[in-house]
Amino acid sequence: MALDILKNPVLLIAVPLLLAFLAVFLKKIDKALLWIAAVANAASAVLLAVVYQGMTVVELGGFKPPFGISLVLDEYSLIGVVVLNVLFALILLLSGKLVKQYATVLLVALAALNGIILTGDLFNLFVFLEIAAIAAYIFTAMDKGFKHSFNYLVVGTLGSGLYLFGIILLYNIFGSLNMFDIRAQLQAIGGAGAETLTLPLVMIFTGLSVEAKLMPFGGWVKGVLHKANSLVGTMIVSGYALAVLLAVGRLMDTVFQMTDAVLIAFTAVAVGTLIFAEASAFSKKNLREILLFSSVAQAGLVVLLFLYGLTVPAVLVLVNNVVSKFVLFTVAGRLAHALETDDIGELKGVFVKVPLVGVGFTVAVMSLIGLPLFFGFVAKINALVGLFNAGNVWLPLIILVMAVVEGAYFVRILTTLWNTGEEGEVSSRDNLKAFNLDGMKGLGVVSVGIAIVIVALGILPVLNIKQFFSVDFMTFVQQLLGGM
């Protein structure tokens, strides 16, 4: 009986929330409470994955949806919950010293991110998005970047307001606020009625694209992240990106019934984000700026895949991006903190001094670009094959071109950071000489650990082609060659 209670996904939200309320007046132990919550959540998520038997709907208050609020734990949200909680625990492990007085904020953010992934109710999603956003406004101001956090606050609140407007219009039409109930009603009328949904869907998409970092609404990203430390940066590009994009995917799967014009408009936004962000990343010289633009581009790619119904490839690309960015941004933040710069030219040869970190970083980059033998390759192939099967030729082409651009600037980073150059150049940087290697050891170990996981996930599918690919790879190659 007790185990049944422990298996309830609500605890992923309720426990951090309870500890947050306690932490506000038990100030002395707030960091300990944060650690307890992170570990408990990670363990609970893994437990849920182990005992998972099929879709579970948790009715809150005992009221059946659509009359009550429900949390939905299916494969989709299970992956999200496991990755989110494990990553949060790892973020805390590597950047725990930076928490200072922000323990309560991080506890609330953890609860809210879990809520975003799990919820099946539109208004509940709005509330959790607001909680997570307010926590983000607060902790992004950690290093006195008030102007940028204020900008983020204004744009974020505008986006949430538009999202709320959209879901109220949906309530007006359907009489319900439950995502799955609306999907059932849409299926009952057989896919008609998409014109009426144009206004609500445009509002919802615009509202969510602020938080999901799509351009042109994602202008806040540069200001907030270009000087972020490793705690804040990874929370936003890994934790928040994962939760918000999974929510976008959930909505697109259930509520979005688009006319052709609307689909083209949304595709244009996603593709525009991809192209603009990759081009911006290519032209930047600061490591954190490059990484943040790469995150924006990946967000555009994931939204594009969700738009065309390719849920599995989208989740694969998203998880790959989030895990890689976690490693990359932690390293970038720590380097910037230790050396007080993140200009690539000035970081020349730094990986030679900290090879473990360098190996982890390199593997993460290769996975992000999508080289074979890494997990990113599996994800990207699934995505491209899915788009081809949907009859689309231009989109895979654009994605491939952008992947080449991405590869170019990442390889440039890698060669610079591993490059020793002449002996004189490296040792003339006094900072590098006084570089504290001890703090980096833990980072090195964790990065290499994740690197091993990435490589394992990349190699396994090659051994089991039919099982892991959405299309039989051999038949696909034959079709491609035959079609030419």
Binding site: V24, K64, I189, G193
Partner: protein
């Protein structure tokens, strides 16, 4: 130039919204025009009739003779909820909006309480340090100084009345807590040296919030669902009714009052000159 572009953008958006909402007939899905909402097509009908849990369960269990004999006949009309007479109704609250806020959609209210909590915490983080009062440009007048002491008591009692009677009258925890915070703001205005004890309010806030989540967890342990109403709901319209709803609203009222007081204290003070 920028203003012209903005005006054009806003007007275009307005035209788009108006066209989408008020013109055209795009069946089969329609925007319900203003004032013509039909509750029976919406989830709210079951909230008004308090019949959400009625008729739950027969769809799950495989029908067999014994179950058919035991289960309530669901052709029967659900009984009307009558003020002062219906006993042990679902939620038991006479105020239907309260029953939604604190019972049917209690999880949203927990989220809302968290929003206010984290916002007040953020204000506390941003405006912290050793505090002394900012001195305004005026001295409080005689009426303000002495009248405030009288009005303060009345305001606090009124605030407490509002959140205790949340299930019977309009209002509830949030307006009640705000009224209490406004009473404390009055004290700040009336006296240039007044400072509220922020530490006490923080403890009150934390305790109230934790008790709300603990009430939810108790619902999980006792009834099997998080935030389930596990106390008996009494007669609709009595002060002691509606199960756990008045308790939750009292907790919310105290929490909101403490949080807003903390925010006011943060803004009314400034750092001591070193």
């Amino acid at each position: 130039m920028k203003q012209v572009v903005s005006i054009l953008l806003v007007v275009a958006l307005g035209v788009f919204v108006f066209l989408a909402l008020y013109t055209g007939d795009h069946s089969p899905l329609q925007f319900t025009p203003y004032g013509e909402a039909d509750l029976s097509t919406r989830v709210s009908q079951r909230f008004v009739d308090k019949t959400v849990t009625l008729g739950m369960g027969e769809a799950e269990t495989a029908p067999d003779a014994q179950a058919e004999a035991d289960a309530p006949a669901f052709e029967a009309m659900p009984a009307l909820v009558v003020y002062g007479e219906t006993r042990d109704a679902e939620t038991g609250s006479a105020n239907m909006v309260t029953s939604i806020v604190v019972n049917y959609r209690s999880f949203d209210t927990l989220g809302e309480v968290t929003v206010l909590f984290i916002a007040a915490f953020g204000v506390g983080l941003l405006l912290s340090g050793k505090r002394k009062r900012q001195q305004p440009a005026y001295e409080p007048s005689f009426i303000l100084k002495h009248g405030a002491r009288i009005v303060f008591g009345i305001m606090v009692v009124f605030g407490v009345y509002v959140f205790i009677h949340g299930h019977l009258t309009p209002g509830g925890g949030f307006p009640g807590g705000s009224i209490i915070a406004a009473a404390i703001l009055l004290l700040y205005i009336a006296d240039n040296e007044f400072q509220a004890k922020v530490k006490t309010f923080k403890i009150l806030e934390g305790v109230a919030g934790s008790l709300y989540v603990i009430a939810g967890l108790l619902g999980l342990v006792i009834g099997g669902y998080f935030l389930q109403n596990f106390l008996p709901t009494g007669v609709v319209g009595d002060l002691v009714s509606a199960g756990v709803i008045p308790i939750v609203y009292i907790l919310i009222g105290l929490k909101v009052g403490s949080e807003l007081t903390g925010v006011i204290a943060g803004f009314a003070t400034e750092e001591e000159a070193e």
